[in-house]
């Protein structure tokens, strides 16, 4: 139990207790010196102004109850604000006022109690520090012996170690019971192979490139040099289901560069149309949309992790954490002059996965 400390006396008892304690457990590589400076014991108590001056004490009392009263006022004001500042439809400023005055009322209600209680404890409550003895955390030898006895009795009465067949089969059964829990979570997703899904998108031969989000087709002549279009496949906006899932794979960026600036590989020369190139918008790092196009340098920047891709060189990675270039969508124009895909992407889009290269 705690007791009021009284200067040097308890300091001395504590000092001897340290030694008693230290001898019971190994200090390891700690240095234990005989000529340590001794603990001087508790310093003399310092009185507060409220302890010596009754006027100050009364003032503190008034402050505390004043703060508690202020809290009541705050709570009332919060309710008043709730009704006095209704949210008027179509007027966003009323939301701000409601938020502000309701919040300030509640704040006053809370801080009044909080500051009042802390001030009460600091200025008026008994101010002396008290001392409590610590005891080793471990149970006493007696208690530990009793605990061991109980375990032994339990063991003897059940035969837990003796009947090893019973024990081992129980352990086996306990290990086996969670297995169904693993199995029943299979239906967290439908019975399809996700890996196959990851390797295909909505794009196929003849699908028109359309604007995101309106879904209107894009004529090659509309794509001026330096411009960039956010593109989705024709038909995406009319999907009944899986619209976002398809969009998450099929989103494309379309840009036109001066033809002489494009360094195209021999086998991909016919994937572009008159300087117009289309690349997957889904970052090959962890899948953010690579939405920032710098038309002077022809660089694409992913705003999430700052991977940079060079559109003039098949969207190769020139900076940042991405490992692979953005997949290119082979495009051409149909007879009406609209841009269309020549095929699906020739590799999976988006972040890498284990079976990606298979």
């Amino acid at each position: 139990m705690a007791h009021d400390h009284d200067g040097a006396a308890s300091g001395e008892t504590a000092e001897t207790a340290v030694e008693k304690h230290a001898s019971s457990a190994s200090p390891g590589v700690a240095v234990e010196r005989a000529d340590r400076i001794p603990n001087p014991g508790f310093p003399p108590e310092r009185l507060r102004v409220t302890d010596v001056d009754p006027a100050k004490e009364r003032a503190a009392e008034r402050t505390v109850s004043g703060l508690f009263l202020l809290s009541v006022v705050g709570s009332v004001l919060a309710v008043v604000a709730y009704f006095a500042f209704p949210i008027v439809e179509g007027d966003p400023s009323t939301i701000r006022l409601n938020n502000l005055f309701l919040g300030l009322g509640i704040t006053l209600g809370l801080l009044g109690i909080g500051i009042g209680a802390v001030h009460w404890s600091k200025a008026l409550m008994h101010g002396h520090e008290l001392v409590e003895e610590r005891h080793p955390t471990r149970g006493s030898d007696d208690t530990r012996a009793k605990a061991i006895e109980i375990f032994q009795a339990g063991n003897a009465e059940s035969g837990f170690t003796r009947r090893s067949l019973v024990r081992n089969t129980l352990i086996g059964a306990l290990v086996a019971t969670p297995i169904p829990a693993i199995a029943i979570f299979r239906d967290l997703a439908p019975a399809e192979d996700p890996i196959a899904l990851l390797k295909h998108t909505m794009w196929e031969e003849g699908v028109r490139l359309t604007r995101d989000p309106s879904g209107t087709p894009i004529k090659a002549s509309e794509v001026t040099i330096g411009s960039a279009f956010h593109v989705i496949p024709d038909g995406l906006v009319d999907l009944e289901s899986h619209k976002l899932e398809e969009k998450a794979k099929a989103a494309v960026l379309l840009m036109r560069l001066p033809v002489e600036r494009l360094n195209e590989r021999e086998d991909r020369k016919d994937w572009s149309y008159d300087g117009i190139v289309a690349y997957s918008k889904i970052c090959t790092h962890v899948g953010c949309p690579v939405a920032l196009y710098e038309q002077q340098t022809h660089h694409l920047l992913c705003p999430c992790h700052q991977s940079e891709f060079d559109v003039a060189n098949h969207a190769e990675v020139i900076f940042g954490p991405a490992a692979r270039p953005l997949p290119q969508l082979p495009i051409t124009v149909d007879e009406e002059g609209y841009l269309v895909a020549k095929s699906d992407f020739t590799e999976p889009v988006g972040p890498s996965f284990w079976e990606r290269a298979l």
């Binding site: 504590a14 909080g114 409590e132 989000p213 989103a251 790092h285 992790h305």
Partner: protein
């Protein structure tokens, strides 16, 4: 008064409550400003529970697509999930709804911050030493759970910003060897984003994770009571006592009042400052993204780790893809977190000290530990700053490449610099303490001696002041000794090496003999 007596008797005869009051009612809590940090964490969690319960009455986590018909004009007619719609309704249609959302979010940010600072306090004062190692581990789990709760909650409104956060999680999961594609598929219930992830995160956020968190907080508190709080060294304070204020009434009033102060400050912030204006971001759509995307602060170190990896790190081995650009940060963070969780056991092994420690050390008095902590903080800070690399670049008109390279340097080399500098600073401070304990401090009084010489008079510390400077533990490096069979095991060698690293540079506390010889 008669009623109080009757009620107390009624309850005690049915619950034995007087036993609890007897053992806990005058329990002593030592006082130091840094002991508040854990309290802030606890109280902000209570605020989170209260405000979160309010939000559950109005939030609907469904991902079904609807058209927005609420009062916020810019989004009218736009298709969005029910979850996003109901988050907008909480903000715009319900009086006090925006306030509660903001209270919840601000309190969550404060919760993780307070836990982090509390952990740093415990680490740097060695308060994790025996018998508190297990409570350190519980506290560590609380920290991880708090981040998980924060992230799941951040995702629930299904806005563009949080959706991109989930997209990043999806990308990271897919990089997991062997099963990444499948884990993502099962988690999202379909291809990304699917229609299941928000309801699933909702269950985690309001049921499973809080239940575990509350249970662990309970265990954390029980162990706090069993172990009793640490205290800083001071006159009269020893390893075998606790000096401070009793629960009844002083600590109860102070701590209870402090709960209301924390609550009040959170509400004040929430009424004055907007947090997470989801209406500006729009509903989730996999194609758009806003520049300057940032996660909540406590996820920053993970996001930053993803940003700092150099380009082109991926290999295909026997047809299978290894995404090192994701796996290295992922494993690196796990190792970092595991190191933090297990540090108390490492230090206990190195010192071999089996005694209980209830005196919180001053950080300077354990230079190697403090230096290791400083290195860890620097590593974390480098990663954390990297999560804002683009904003740093635009605000200070720097190139993004330059910022990334600088932060790569901070993260990789910075910890070593921090370690070295901190250790030297600690040793220098210890030397200064020793000097002051032995010779006193400069009084500022200059005296001219008869011979014309000027000296500054030093004044001795009183015993109470001196005690704070001399009452620390000292350790020395382990001497390797052969065991009973005359062999030196490899683990002994490792332990001796670590112990040399820890304690080779050390400053001994002033002893009684030194003090006396100084006086004569």
């Amino acid at each position: 008064m008669r009623f109080t007596g009757w009620a107390a008797n009624y309850i005690d005869e049915r619950t034995s409550a007087s036993t609890a009051v007897k053992s806990l009612g005058r329990k002593i809590f030592p006082d130091h400003w840094s002991f508040m940090l854990g309290e802030v964490a606890l109280y902000s969690f209570v605020v989170i529970l209260l405000s979160g319960t309010f939000l559950t009455f109005f939030f609907d986590p469904s991902m079904t697509e609807v058209e927005y018909e609420g009062s916020y004009v810019p989004l009218q007619g736009i298709p969005m999930s029910v979850a996003y719609h109901s988050s907008l309704d909480i903000s715009f249609e319900i009086r006090g709804g925006l306030l509660m959302r903001q209270v919840h979010h601000w309190a969550a940010l404060l919760f993780v911050a307070a836990i982090g600072l509390h952990m740093l306090r415990v680490f740097f004062t060695g308060a994790f030493r025996k018998p508190r190692e297990l409570n350190w581990v519980i506290g560590f789990l609380l920290f991880v759970l708090a981040m998980a709760l924060g992230f799941t909650g951040y995702s629930l409104p299904d806005d563009l910003l949080s959706g991109n956060g989930l997209r990043i999680i999806d990308g990271m999961i897919k990089a997991v060897p062997l099963a990444g594609g499948w884990i993502s598929y099962l988690l999202f219930g379909d291809e990304f984003p699917g229609l299941d992830i928000i309801p699933r995160l909702y269950v985690l956020h309001i049921l499973l994770l809080p239940a575990i968190l509350v249970a662990l907080i309970g265990a954390h508190m029980v162990l706090l009571i069993v172990n009793k709080h640490t205290q800083f060294a001071g006159p009269g304070r020893t390893n075998d006592n606790v000096v401070g204020a009793p629960v009844m009434p002083v600590f109860a009033a102070k701590a209870g009042g402090f709960f209301f102060i924390v609550f009040g400050v959170i509400v004040l912030i929430a009424s004055l400052f907007t947090i997470n204006p989801i209406w500006n971001y729009g509903p989730y759509d996999p194609s758009p993204v806003s520049a300057g995307t940032q996660p909540d602060w406590y996820i920053g170190f993970a996001d930053g780790a993803l940003r700092l990896i150099p380009p082109h790190l991926e290999s295909v081995i026997f047809g299978y893809t290894w995404s090192w650009n994701v796996l290295i940060p992922l494993v690196g963070l796990l190792v970092f977190l595991a190191a933090a969780a297990l540090y108390p056991f490492l230090e206990a092994w190195v010192t071999g000290d089996k005694r209980e420690h209830h005196i919180a050390e001053r950080p300077r008095n354990n230079p190697t530990r403090t230096a290791i902590g400083a290195a860890g903080v620097t590593f974390y800070a480098g990663l954390w700053a990297a999560a804002s690399s683009d904003l740093i670049a635009t605000h200070f008109r720097l190139s993004i490449e330059g910022v990334i390279h600088a932060l790569q340097f901070v993260t990789v080399v910075g910890p070593f610099i921090a370690y070295f500098v901190t250790k030297r600073v600690c040793l220098a401070l210890m030397r200064k303490d020793r000097e002051i304990a032995l010779h006193g401090f400069e009084s500022g009084r200059i005296v001219r001696l008869p011979g014309g010489e000027y000296i500054e008079v030093h004044e001795q510390l009183d015993d109470y002041e001196r005690w704070k400077l001399v009452s620390y533990e000292e350790y020395q490096p382990l001497m390797v000794r052969p065991d009973a069979r005359g062999r030196i095991s490899a683990s002994q060698r490792v332990r001796a090496g670590l112990s040399r690293w820890f304690f080779e540079d050390r400053i001994s506390p002033v002893t009684q003999r030194e003090l006396e010889s100084q006086r004569h």
